[in-house]
Amino acid sequence: MEQIYKSIIESLIFASDEPIGATEIVKAIKEIDGEDISVSTKDVEETVDYLNQCYKDNDRAFRIIRIANGFTFATKPEYAKYIGYLSSEKSRRRLSQAALETLAIIAYKQPITKPEIETIRGVNSDYIINSLLEKNLITIKGRAETIGRPLLYATTDEFLMYFGLNKITDLPKPREVEEIMKDSEFIEQKRKIMMNEIEEELENDVDSGENEFD
């Protein structure tokens, strides 16, 4: 691959407002410069590694990351608070426990129907599914061939972006059911990291003290 294509690859990734795949990059180059241009997806991968090494050597504030089946530029995490200050009006809200739970079920069992989701969660999930659809974290992927032909839900590229995944197979492996009960510490550990979890005294919520359980 000619040297100039390193810059072209850099410019394509830089100017794309969503992750761009190696195939797309090769396609764009060949469409403009001709089919006989020798640029492969492997060249793209290597160029990205080369560029990232340059950024690191020169202490750039950003890197090219692999996410949602493509490449995109992103800042290094250490600058998040400054950027967060700028965009604080937008106040990025974290997903609720219910939303995370429902997403996890959909992510691992996709494509999955609403009745199946509700069986696992034990609760009606209309609202949550609708809000995940609205956030574009899930989408409708056709219909199941079962009775009533319910709609099938699956995760989107935005889902991958949101959780920093390159492809759906990068998801952490769920533990086997038998394993789960063995160590209760595991959950306690993570609870500390989790920001969603807040312990609130009941009396802060309701006026009288008679709402306590043993």
């Binding site: 990351i65 691992y108 969660r121 034990g122 989790m194 919520d205």
Partner: protein, 242 residues
Amino acid sequence: MYKVKLNTFEGPLDLLLFFIKRDELDIYDIPISQITKEFMEYLHYIEKLDLEIAGDFLLMAATLMQIKVRMLLPKEVDEKGEEIDPRADLVKALLEYKRYKEMAEEFSVMEYNQRKINYRGNFSADPKEAPEEIGSLLKNITIYDLIKAFQKALMEKPEEIVHEVKKFNVTIEEQISYITDFVERSNYVHFLDLVKGMTEKIRIVVTFIALLELVKMNRIGITVSEKLNDFVIYKLDDGTDL
């Protein structure tokens, strides 16, 4: 003394898991009457707060009661003669739910890490050149594509000024046999080749109408061409593709 915040629970399964964890119960040997009592207290508590009781909680209450009753009855056995634990389905549901609840926590960690990353914010300043027309998007051909191709064929003909009104020297029947001759000879033909050399608009129009007739009669088929605004006419045998 435990204090319970209402919105801690995502549903009845979550609430049951809470009781199990809090009281260090064995999930495989749940004391049904104890947990049913706790569960019912929770229901009353929601009532007290004058909140609408979710049907899901009521359904679980009914399930718990049913299990409780079955626990008191003589043991049931399956076809292999093994005892059926009335709690088995509930345990399975609890474990399955717990599995995803755990993954939700993993997701929360991933979400947390990901939020420290920011993407490029402003793309408006990137110079872009309007691209040339690239390739054809058409994957299957429709009447509309036919019309477009037809128009193109007409437009590419040099305008000929006709001074006198002539009787049309071409008929649909003639053009039908013209087309069928073509496809009989070579099995298929490009539309633009078919009308090549036709200098009169009317001849192209009639040829096109003839083509539509043949399609309607299922005597020819039409498919997409690799060329833009063109299509391929091919022979059909008894309405089936060759």
